[in-house]
């Protein structure tokens, strides 16, 4: 009787502690050779931790890692590459001004002079590109390439270094649906050639579409190892969260009232003077959620920041409840807009929405810190700030419920809840929301979506910017699609499907 071949990668009983936090609890998983394997779980479930151990970033406290059935000692990414494990990070590790070929060579120059290595690399890369559909222009600086192509460079880097096992961390977060399809084609081609792929994600749709097997993690433990064909989205979601989840928020039809925000011919430039918003116009009424869909980098960020008073507008009119704000710097700035009941949940909570080194209670008043309720004549009223933060934490179920904990020590979902609570509990007439659930786990997504719909049902106007199509489709009452600084179309969620929106987002419809 022949033994089945050993799995390409296996983890046995891996434990990892971060201080008091048991991040990996007896984690065991096996990835058969030549398969695509999904690892899913909420934030903090330990999926990145186990992959960091496999890739040599973190030492395990106990347990072992086996490659092709042999125990290996991986102490650094260099060791990992030596046994054939490569990783593509969520945030690319590329040098923007270097060309593709220079980026691939970096750290694997293969000689004193670059020329010899470069010629060898070029031959090898052309071969790889043809075999797997990994086309990129080898002589273009990486910074000029679209995001999807940059990701292909990362994959090329790993393959060039001889990786047989490829780990991808949240690979589709920044891609358009079309780019995602392209990536999936590449990954399938790699599988055909006997490579082993591990993909870390929280998108259930991709797991179902792409993978052969799935490992589900919850609170540091592996709760299931299943064949993808024998499971369903609903079952996976339940395993991940530990309870039944609503994948799509339930809401009644909108009941739009008077126009709250009306924008005409708005133009916004970025810091280097390049026009990013090229004359857009739309309205948002009370009691409706208007979603702006688009691939990130098409001007939605600048649009949102301009409307929030964070950056100047170059031209156009912006009317709030009929009053024109353009050309009135006294009204059109972040501080004054808050007094006009405009709330703003920024796209990047860690770098914009919070001061991560501040305590939660200090973050809870960011932007509202000069309101009379928090201030005496000279000193701030600490009791008022504390009780405000406590009640917001209670209402939004922020954990741990500790107002003196530094913002950096909360998980992504809880940080987002701190920001949302601050902006939504002040009852804004207009709420500007960017990426409300980016990097937030499924349980919290459900909660945040319900809150946004509840705010809408109170008759507030909400402008939602998101690159997650699921989110746009599930929340919006009207959908505007933005491409290259223009609004290229408006659809209702009933008319829209992902295919059609994806084409519009790519500027092809």
């Amino acid at each position: 009787m022949t033994q089945p071949p050993p799995p390409a990668l296996e983890a046995r009983g891996v434990n990892k502690w971060f201080g008091a936090n048991h991040a990996n609890r007896d984690v065991s998983l096996a990835v058969p050779k030549g398969t695509i394997h999904g690892v899913i779980g909420e934030n903090g479930a330990g999926k990145s931790t186990i992959m960091s151990i496999v890739y040599g970033y973190l030492p395990a406290d106990s347990g072992e890692i086996l490659v092709d059935g042999r125990p290996v000692s991986v102490k650094s990414p260099r060791d990992a590459l030596a046994v054939g494990i490569g990783m593509v990070h969520q945030h690319f590790m590329l040098v923007d001004p270097f060309t593709v070929i220079e980026n691939v060579l970096l750290g694997a120059e293969g000689g004193v002079t670059l020329a010899a290595g470069r010629d060898r690399a070029r031959k090898e890369l052309i071969h790889l590109a043809r075999e797997y559909g990994l086309e990129v222009d080898l002589d273009r600086p990486v910074g000029e390439l679209p995001v999807g192509a940059q990701q292909r460079v990362e994959i090329l880097k790993a393959l060039y270094r001889g990786a047989d096992i490829l780990i991808l961390d949240e690979p589709t977060g920044v891609l358009t649906p079309q780019e995602t399809d392209h990536l999936f084609r590449i990954l399938r081609a790699l599988r055909e050639q006997g490579k082993t792929i591990i993909i870390i994600t929280h998108k259930l749709r991709e797991i179902m579409e792409l993978t052969d097997n799935v490992t589900v993690m919850h609170r540091g433990e592996v709760v299931a190892n299943v064949r993808t064909a024998g499971t369903s989205r609903e079952q996976l979601a339940e395993l991940m969260v530990g309870r039944k989840v609503l994948l799509r928020v339930e809401k009644t039809p909108a009941n739009p009232g008077p126009v709250v925000l009306s924008v005409e011919g708005l133009r916004v430039c970025d810091r280097s003077g390049v026009e990013r918003v090229k004359g857009v116009g739309f309205t948002v009424r009370a009691g409706e959620i208007v979603g702006i869909a688009g691939v990130s980098g098409n001007g939605q960020s600048e649009l949102l920041e301009a409307l929030a008073g964070m950056r100047p507008i170059a031209a156009g009119t912006v009317r709030l409840r009929g009053e024109d704000l353009a050309g009135r710097p006294g009204l059109f700035n972040a501080r004054a807009l808050r007094r006009l009941h405009v709330g703003h949940v920024p796209e990047d909570r860690q770098r914009v929405g919070l001061v991560t080194s501040f305590e939660a209670q200090e973050c809870a008043i960011l932007g509202y810190h000069d309101e009379a309720v928090y201030n005496g004549r000279v000193l701030m009223d600490r009791a008022a700030i504390l009780s405000r933060c406590e009640s917001e934490m209670e209402a939004y179920d922020v954990r741990p419920r500790d107002p003196t904990l530094r913002a950096a020590n909360f998980s992504g979902g809880n940080q987002q809840k701190i920001v949302l609570a601050r902006e939504m509990e002040r009852n804004p007439d207009l709420l500007l929301v960017g990426q409300p659930t980016r990097g937030v786990d499924i349980g919290a997504i459900e909660f945040i979506h319900k809150r946004l719909v509840a705010l809408r049902d109170q008759g507030k106007a909400i402008l939602l910017v998101s690159v997650e199509l699921d989110e746009i489709l599930s929340l919006s009452d009207r959908i505007l699609v933005m491409f290259d600084g223009h609004l290229v179309g408006e659809v209702t969620p009933e008319q829209a499907d992902e295919r059609r929106l994806g084409l519009m987002m790519a500027g092809a419809a």
Binding site: F18, A45, S48, Y57, F358, E362, G367, M380
Partner: protein
Amino acid sequence: MAQGMASKGFGMPGEVPGWVNYALLPLLNLLVALILSGLVILVIGENPVDVLSLMLVEAVGYPEAIGYTLYYATSYIFTGLAVAIAFHCGLFNIGGEGQAYLGGLGAGLVGLAMTGWPWPVVAVAAILVSALFGAAWAWIPGWLQAKRGSHIVITTIMFNFIAASIMTYLLVDVLIKPGQQSPETREFDPGTWLPSMERALGWVGVTIPASPLNLSFLWALACCALFQLFLWRTRWGYEIRTVGQNERAAVYAGISPSRNIILAMLISGALAGFVGVNEILGVQHRILLNFTGGVGFVGIAVALMGRNHPVGIILAALLFGMLAQGGGQVSFEYPNVNRELVMVIQGLVILFAGALENLFKPQVESLFRRRGSRGEGRS
């Protein structure tokens, strides 16, 4: 977890108890600096234990020495606070030296002009004018940073040189007492002098030996308390800290970075300017060249070692006061241990406590993490 890791890199430093950061690490750094100093003393053929213990005795061993030590510490507290407030706004103010020099000009002009006024009035006026002069001198680099993006480190360094040139010109050509060679002003009327601690305590019947220690020490302590309240208990301090920690979040919150950069530099300059009250109105009683003698630079080390917190700054200022006083005296006892060698010792302390403040941080932190996780594992 995934989120935190993506943005901060793997192996984020864990939380360690506060006393490790604020007490253990500085003491460890100090210890290494003293051990190295001991080696240097050994190399030149003296007994390090004798020399260092004499240094300690000369710094705090008897009342007069304590007076001197506290007098030095007074100036270091002012410049330490000055560096710290700028640091909380994300600015590295290297210009404490020049701002203190100009502050001394302000205090001195008050002393020269207010002959015949009672000293409390003169003291209040000198505090105001020295703050004004120091703040004005810091305002220019602050404005250039806020409005034109000129790097504050470069401009403040250059402004130290400009301050020195201006003072040399004023003392040689304008303010010099007629009919003498040395570039100094005339002595102020004794009635305007800021009373020494010896005199002030004498009024309440306490006798201490004479030393340069004067009432500005109390003002320095008051400044520490005000600093604490301002930075952590007022909305203005909140804004400064927000700008220092995360400028984009400040813009998001409607807090103007440029306004707060200028404000922080004004306060910084004013604090440095108070050195003039201590030195000119309290001790020298006339304006003279180079009276600052590097206090602005020591202030950087004081702020770093004191973790930009007033309590830490007081402790660090006392340490550097001890080094200044004890070190100066040792050279009388041991001819081999000359002034230059004392500066080497001071330099080593600055190097380890200031520049290399995080030298042992990773080791100590991982020690505590391991202990913490083991403790958890048992439960």
